[in-house]
C-alpha cells in the first residue's frame, strides 16, 4: 500500500481580483479536502503586488486549517526585479517554496524545497540531480506519458512526485503578452485586460473549435485535463501528490470528488458524472498521460484503470 495520497491545489494562474482570490483561499481553508496549497504569482510579475498584502492572512488561515502552504515563484524570470522576488522567498527560512525556474532551485539548494511543473524534469538523471540539491517534492511536466511517470516513480526514492490531475494544461510561456496583443496593447501598457477572463481568454480556430486559452504571457489548453480515472494507477506507480489547478468552478466540490475517489469511498463512474456536471467550461482531456495528443480524451473502455 502506498503512503497516503495528498491532494494539492496549484497556484491560481489567472489574474483574479485580489479580494476574490482571498475569499477563494478562505473557503479552501475552511471547507476543502486539500492537503497542500500553493500560493503566489507564477505567470506575470506585473500582477504580483495585488495579492501580496493578503498573503500573510491567507497563509495563516490555511496553516491553521492544517494545510501545508507552499510559496510558488515566477516561471519566467527576465529582470532584476523579478529575480528579487525569488530571492526574497528563498531568504525566508521558514517558508516552503516551489521553484518554477531553475534559478529558484539554485537559491534553495541544500534546504528542502519543491520543484514546480515549469522546470523540465523528463528523466531519472535530472530528477536525481534536483533531489541531490534538496528537492523533496517534484511536480512533473504535464506532457509526461504514463511510461515516464512509471520510471520516475521508481527513481524518486524519498522525494514525493506530484502530477496535475485537474485543470487547463499549462502549455507555453512567453515574454510577450497575448492578452495585451489581442486588445491592441503592449505589455507595458496592458491595462490588466487579463482580469476579464477568470479561466483565460478563449482562443478558437477559424472554424470555431475551442483550441487554447490565453492567460497573459501564458498559453493553456482549451480542454481541462482530468485524470480522475487514472488516479489509482498513478498511486500504484508511486505518485503521491495530485494537483488540482484552480479554475472558476466550485473547487471545494472538485476537491471533494477527487478525494472521494482517492479514498476509495466513491464509485468512479458516479464521480466522473458529478465532475462533468460541475465543470462545464470545456471538455476534458487525458491524452498526454496516454502518450497521445494532449487534447485527446481516451475513452474509459479503451484502457483499464488498474493497469
Amino acid at each position: 500500500m502506498s503512503p497516503a495520497a495528498k491532494l494539492t491545489l496549484g497556484p491560481v494562474l489567472y489574474n483574479w481580483p485580489a479580494e476574490v482570490k482571498r475569499d477563494f483561499y478562505f473557503r479552501i481553508a475552511d471547507e476543502a479536502a486539500i492537503d497542500v496549497v500553493y500560493l503566489g504569482e507564477v505567470v506575470c510579475s506585473k500582477r504580483s503586488s495585488f495579492f501580496e498584502p493578503y498573503v500573510p492572512e491567507v497563509s495563516e488561515r490555511l496553516a491553521r486549517a492544517g494545510k501545508e502552504v507552499v510559496h510558488s515563484t515566477l516561471a519566467l524570470i527576465m529582470n532584476e526585479r523579478e529575480m528579487e522576488t525569488v530571492r526574497a522567498l528563498a531568504a525566508a527560512p521558514d517558508m516552503r517554496v516551489e521553484a518554477n525556474d531553475i534559478s529558484g532551485a539554485a537559491l534553495l539548494a541544500g534546504r528542502p524545497h519543491v520543484i514546480g511543473p515549469f522546470v523540465n524534469v523528463y528523466n531519472e538523471g535530472t530528477l536525481e540531480v534536483l533531489v541531490r540539491g534538496g528537492a523533496d517534492r517534484v511536480v512533473l511536466p504535464c506532457e509526461l506519458p504514463v511510461g515516464s511517470l512509471e520510471v520516475l516513480g521508481r527513481a524518486a526514492g524519498n522525494a514525493e512526485l506530484e502530477v496535475q490531475v485537474f485543470g487547463r494544461l499549462p502549455l507555453a510561456l512567453s515574454a510577450r503578452c497575448y492578452h495585451a496583443r489581442a486588445h491592441d496593447l503592449h505589455k507595458d501598457g496592458c491595462r490588466y485586460v487579463c482580469e476579464e477572463d477568470p479561466d483565460g481568454m478563449a482562443l478558437e480556430t477559424l472554424e470555431g473549435d475551442g483550441f487554447l486559452a490565453v492567460n497573459g504571457t501564458q498559453t493553456l489548453s482549451h480542454t481541462l485535463c482530468s485524470l480522475l480515472r487514472e488516479l489509482e494507477k498513478l498511486r500504484d506507480l508511486g505518485i503521491g501528490c495530485f494537483r488540482l489547478w484552480p479554475q472558476s468552478v466550485d473547487m471545494v466540490a472538485v476537491a471533494g470528488i477527487f478525494q472521494g475517489v482517492l479514498d476509495g469511498r466513491d464509485d468512479l463512474a458516479e464521480a466522473e458524472a458529478r465532475l462533468r456536471e460541475l465543470v462545464d467550461i470545456a471538455p476534458f482531456s487525458n491524452g498526454f498521460y496516454h502518450g497521445r495528443e494532449g487534447a485527446d480524451l481516451v475513452a474509459a473502455e479503451t484502457f483499464s484503470p488498474a493497469g
Partner: protein, 330 residues
Amino acid sequence: MSGTPLELVCPAGTPGALRAAVDAGADVVYLGFRDETNARNFPGLNFSRPELRDGLAYAHERGCRIYVAVNTFAAAGNPGPWHRAVDDAAELGADALILADIGLLDYARRRHPETRRHLSVQASASNPTAIAYYHEAFGVQRVVLPRVLTVTEIARLNVQIPVETEVFAFGGMCVMAEGRCTLSAYATGRSPNMNGVCSPASHVRYEQLGGRMVSRLGRFTINEFPDGEPAGYPTLCKGRFVAGGCAGYLFEEPTSLDASTVLPELMAAGVRALKIEGRQRGRAYIAEVVAAFRRAVDAAARGDPVPPLGLGGMTEGLRETTGAYTKTWR
C-alpha cells in the same frame, strides 16, 4: 565602435549544407544526429556518425569549428540514445556540445569533462542566477540566450555572469520561451522537448474547401488562404485564430527574426556569438545567409555601418522582425 568580431554560428542539416556554411565564412557550424536527441528531428535531415567525422575533418582543415546539439530531454527509462550522442560527439572531437537536459549535462560533465559544454536555448536560462547554476553545477562555458530578452536586458545580464553568451540573429523565431512550449504536443502528440519536432509535417494537412485552402495541424485548423494565395506552412504559433470575435495572428505573424540591424548594439552588450537558425534549410539558403552575415559581422567589428543584408527574399512570409530584442515586441 570596433572590436572582436562576433563568432558566427551557422546551421547545417546535411553534409552539403555544412560545406556551404564553412565555405561561406562560418566560424562554427552546429548540427545534430539523425534522431530524437536534437531539436530539429526532421525526416531526411541531420548527421550519421561517419558524416559527422567527415564534417569535422572538412571544417577543422578550414579553421572552422563544429558544435553538436543534443538538446532534447532524454526519455525516462531510455537515456541510451542521448548518452551515446554525447559520447560519440565527444569522442569524434566535436568542439562543443549544446545541451539542455540537466541529467544530460551532469552525464557530459562526468564522462567528458574536457569537451566544452554550451547551454542550449532549450534550457530557457534567462537570468544570471540560472546561468550561474549551470556554470557551477555542470561547467557550462556558454549559454544560448532564450529569445525573450531585450538588448538592454542582455547587456545587464552579461556583466553579471561568468560565461559567454550566444544569441539568435536570423531565421525562424519561436515566440514562446524555448523548451517551455508543449503547444505542438497538445495538437499532435509529438513533443518538441521529447521528440525534437514542432508542428511536424507528418501531422500537417491541406484541404481545399470551396474557394479556400485550409491548413491543419492534427485536427486543428491553423490557417486558411483564399484560392490563388500561397498557403503557408501551419506552424502552430504563427497561425490565425479567433479571440474575442476577431480573427488574427494572435501569437505572431509568419515573420522571421532579423537582428542584423542591432549587431553593433549586441556587440556593445557583450554578446560573444551570433546564431543563425535553419538546420532544415537547403545549401543555397545557407550559403547566401552565411555570406551576408559574414559581411555584416566583419563590418560591425570594424566599426562600419552594417550593410543591408539583402535577404528579403529569404525570410518567412517575406517579413522581418527584431523580435524580443526590442521591448515593444512584448
